[in-house]
Symmetry: C2
């Protein structure tokens, strides 16, 4: 069985293997913002209302690959969540709290 797993791993592209390792290590589900919104059972329309923006802004925002931490925080808080910014090192992880004073309380 262990052999088979190794065979499978060997057939994976290095990037895919690194991604799988990272996932296993973190033991967290990983997904983009749009998928997370759907998983929370929310529509773009509802989220737009909570954030007092137009629906296309949500669509655009979900496609972005970079944004201000404060923007992301508002977005996640609008879904009922809390943003955590973590720096992971081989010997441990640290939560960065430079950003926790701003936008802590949404709406």
């Amino acid at each position: 069985m262990a052999k088979k797993f190794e065979t499978l791993r060997a057939s994976m592209k290095p990037e895919a293997r690194a991604r799988a390792d990272a996932k296993a290590r973190a033991m967290l589900v990983e997904m983009p913002l749009a998928e997370l919104r759907q998983a929370r059972g929310l529509s773009q329309k509802v989220l737009a209302e909570v954030l007092h923006v137009q629906q296309p802004s949500i669509a655009k925002m979900e496609k972005r690959t970079d944004m201000y931490i404060s923007t992301l925080r508002s977005h996640i808080e609008a879904m009922g969540g809390e943003l955590e910014v973590v720096a992971r090192f081989p010997d441990g992880a640290v939560k960065i709290n430079n950003f926790t004073d701003i936008g802590a309380a949404p709406t």
Copy 2:
């Protein structure tokens, strides 16, 4: 003993109590970027060299309460770490991977 703990908790400001709760829940050390750099045994000078910027830029950056995720990622990667963006909900946590394609390989 439980009584004493409760007494202590009751004497805490609500914000301090919320912070303590959040810390306990996440079981992660929490600190600002400057403290993290020191904990990694790095000087502003060394970090500035890795990031090809001037030392005052690092000083300024460490005081910021908001920044682009890509900027933060470069900063953390320059310290030898990896940035994780997590949305935490009462029923679980999700790693947001909208941002993982950009700036994945530093320097």
